[in-house]
């Protein structure tokens, strides 16, 4: 199966560079995540629930 991505007549570097770009990007996002404060995360999580809407109580129908 790996012949699909290794046997490319010298064009393998397209894949290698692409994977390095992704890895660098992924690590950057991971660092940003680790630096986030729990307080902010909790605040953001609650945003949809804190939009000031009053819940209409569901009454049993049918």
């Amino acid at each position: 199966m790996f012949k699909q991505i290794t046997d490319l007549q010298g064009n393998e570097w397209y894949l290698i560079i692409s994977l390095w770009i992704f890895l660098a990007f992924f690590i950057l996002v991971a660092i940003l995540l680790f630096r986030m404060k729990k307080q902010h995360v909790n605040y953001m999580q609650q945003l949809p629930l804190n939009d000031g809407e009053t819940e209409v109580l569901e009454e049993e129908t049918n």
Partner: protein
């Protein structure tokens, strides 16, 4: 001191998009059911050129994608954006222009596609004037969205809004790049790209239209509506950040998996494979984040139809995003591509993920904006079960049909010849499965009709809160420096958009720039010549009739295909193909090597009534091609346009093009006459026969 401001949410625009979602959903699904039935009983093509499968199938796809799902997106975005930002939409006028503009675009599509005005690019069939209208209305949507973000009362943008921003910016890029066309008349244009390059652009677009129209806005809506429905926060906000950035980065690279084993350069195919497999991680991250949001609330799933729909939507998303990477493996793709597997795969996503989430949001939002409760939860639950059965009845027979047909295409006898050399044998074998698929579609549509009744009764029960009052604290200037970079990013929409744009551009550029700039990626073949004027006209009729919806034009390098069709297709053979016509589904056989395979009379008979040459064929007849006169008034402008695009017609050739066209047409007509077919040489059928007889002959290996 913080000042409390009062304002109102615009629910009328949400309601309008909601009604449009329901209306176009029923239209799109009904047309889908019609095309499903046409594939079993060709009589359902109704014998008119405006209702054949080739012309109607794009009506179905455009209606469900851009009309049903599109309006569903705008409904969800307009509802959630206002509440997440604690602000009314930026401009009511822009909201109205957006709404009516989008409906007019849909109407234009519904009129022009049956008339045969099509570019032939899948999911981008609309001709250039409508493309321009889409661009304008999309920009209106963007201005309205960013205007609302700018005047917000909530400092940080919730994850749902990031998905909306990524959707806006990426769809803009995809639509513009895939719409570079040279108009030759009000309703006809040629793509700037040709052959392999056109294929790469189209499937970069096609795949990412799935990603950024059918996926990212729905993920945004999931992150808003699921916590609202379950009344608990999203399981992991950090996971949502990782999900967002990984998904938009990886998705854009995966397009070439639609072109495996074609003449696209091998490295581009491999990039598509690798990134498609990687895509499973962020996709499942999102699905798991959604399902785990329901932790501790599973008891509600039993009683709340909205949550039932959401659970199946997320499960269907998980299935489709597992299946996508699997289909990208070359070994699987070799069997599954061009079969009903792709149709099943798409519909698990469309019916399960998009359809069910849209239903859930409608059931949840319509009672809210009407200040009431749902008319009947019981009916909604029945809709859920009927719809789920519909999905199963659709998908399972299609998988079955795919495996049957894929294996039949490849089966050889012990003597080394194809066991099913007649393509039609494999088509007829799967007709029972196609009938079952139509049953599935009927069930799904029935469920949608139940929902329509339920929601109409709900609307009558309440009254629209057109301007729902709300209050929030005005946004104060920021005096504390936020240490976290991502936290800062969450309050800077313009910067966020630019970074998202850069992220989505990387993949496309790495794949496209070398394919366009390095000539060795598309080796030219000296024997490949431009089409004659008559063949060019015939090609445009082939496009008009939507033949590409059922017939591919690319022979893959497998023994089973080269024995069945002939020499496998080379990149250099397509350099004058504006647009490429490789297709994505083989309801009928591949046509790339059909040239000179049969006499002219065979093609004439086949187009007049396919069952003359192929008893039992499900292809519709095309008798109007014999009756209609070929329009040659535009031959010169077509030649000039092609020359501008790089096709080497000599200078001034447009002046004698029609003379050559006439000469070739007379030659075909006289050959037909010699075979007892009396037809005028100026009819459309002559042009399409000329085109079909040319296909794949430039490098065709002569036998004996």
């Amino acid at each position: 001191m913080q000042q409390l401001e009062t304002f109102s949410y615009d629910n009328k625009i949400v309601r309008n998009f909601g009604i449009a979602t329901i209306f176009w959903g029923i239209v799109g699904m009904s047309v889908g059911l019609l095309v499903a039935i046409q594939l079993v009983w060709p009589v359902m093509n109704f014998g008119t050129q405006f209702s054949t499968f080739g012309r109607i199938r794009p009506v179905h796809t455009n209606a469900v994608i851009f009309a049903f799902v599109g309006n569903g997106i705008f409904m969800g975005v307009y509802y959630s954006l206002q509440r997440l930002l604690k602000a009314r939409m930026y401009s009511d006028v822009l909201s109205k222009i957006h709404f009516w503009g989008w409906q007019l675009i849909i109407l234009a599509a519904a009129i022009t596609l049956p008339l045969g005005f099509t570019t032939s690019h899948e999911y981008a069939e609309l001709e250039w004037p409508i493309d321009i209208a889409i661009t304008i209305i999309w920009v209106v949507f963007g201005i309205n969205m960013f205007g609302t973000i700018i005047k917000r009362r909530e400092r940080h943008m919730y994850v749902a809004i990031w998905f909306y921003i990524a959707t806006f910016v990426t769809i803009a890029v995809l639509h513009i790049v895939n719409s570079f066309e040279l108009p030759i008349s009000a309703w006809k244009s040629y793509y700037l790209y040709a052959g392999v390059q056109d294929a790469l652009v189209q499937w970069w677009y096609g795949h990412n239209a799935v990603a950024f129209f059918l996926t990212t806005p729905y993920l945004g809506m999931m992150y808003y509506f699921l916590p609202k429905m379950a009344n608990r926060p999203v399981y992991s906000y950090k996971l949502s950040i990782l999900h967002f950035w990984s998904l938009i980065f990886i998705y854009i690279w995966a397009g070439p998996h639609h072109l495996l084993y074609t003449s696209l350069p091998g490295w581009a195919q491999s990039l598509g494979v690798v990134f498609s497999i990687m895509l499973i991680a962020p996709s499942w991250g999102g699905m798991i984040n959604g399902l785990l949001t329901l932790r501790g609330a599973w008891d509600k799933v039993r009683t709340e139809p909205t949550l039932k729909f959401m659970v199946v939507a997320l499960t269907a998303y998980g299935m489709a995003t597992f299946e996508g990477p699997m289909l990208s493996l070359k070994q699987v793709n070799a069997i599954a591509h061009f079969t009903d597997w792709i149709v099943a795969h798409v519909h698990v996503g469309a019916l399960g993920w998009n359809g069910f989430m849209t239903f859930a949001i409608l059931y949840w939002a319509i009672p809210k904006i009407y200040g009431t409760t749902l008319y009947s939860k019981k009916l909604a639950s029945i809709h859920f079960w009927v719809g789920t059965l519909g999905i199963l009845f659709y998908a399972i027979p299609m998988y079955w049909a795919a495996v049957v047909q894929g294996l039949m295409w490849k089966e050889f006898t012990p003597e080394g010849v194809l066991k099913y050399p007649t393509f039609l044998a494999t088509t007829l074998q799967i007709l029972p499965m196609h009938m079952l698929r139509a049953v599935g579609g009927t069930l799904y549509l029935s469920g949608a009709l139940m929902m329509t009744y339920n929601l109409i009764r709900t609307m009558r029960k309440g009254s629209l809160l057109a301007n729902e009052p709300a209050e929030a604290v005005a946004l104060q200037p920021l005096i504390v420096n936020e240490r976290s970079r991502h936290r800062r990013l969450e309050r800077k929409p313009a910067l966020f958009m630019v970074i998202a744009l850069i992220v989505i551009l990387i993949g496309g550029m790495v794949e496209m720039v070398p394919t366009f700039m390095i000539s060795s990626n598309v080796p030219t073949i000296s024997s490949v010549k431009p089409y004659t004027p008559l063949e060019l006209q015939g090609r445009d009729i082939y496009i008009r009739e939507g033949c590409v919806n059922c017939h591919s034009q690319t022979v893959r390098p497998f023994r089973s295909e080269t024995v069945r069709y002939g020499e496998y297709s080379k990149a250099g053979e397509f350099v004058y193909d504006h647009p490429f016509l490789w297709g994505s589904k083989r309801t009928g056989p591949d046509l790339h090597r059909v040239g000179k395979k049969y006499p002219n009379k065979w093609h004439f008979d086949h187009l007049l009534d396919p069952t003359i040459t192929s008893p039992g064929s499900i292809m519709p007849p095309y008798p109007w091609l014999i009756e209609q006169k070929l329009d040659t008034t535009n031959t010169a402008s077509k030649i000039i346009a092609m020359r501008k695009l790089g096709v080497p017609y000599p200078d001034g050739y447009e002046l004698q093009a029609n003379k050559d066209l006439d000469q070739q047409a007379k030659s075909i007509a006289s050959d037909l006459k010699a075979n007892q077919v009396d037809v005028l040489s100026d009819r459309e059928i002559i042009a399409i026969v000329a085109y079909l007889q040319r296909l794949g002959t430039d490098i065709k290996v002569k036998e004996n």
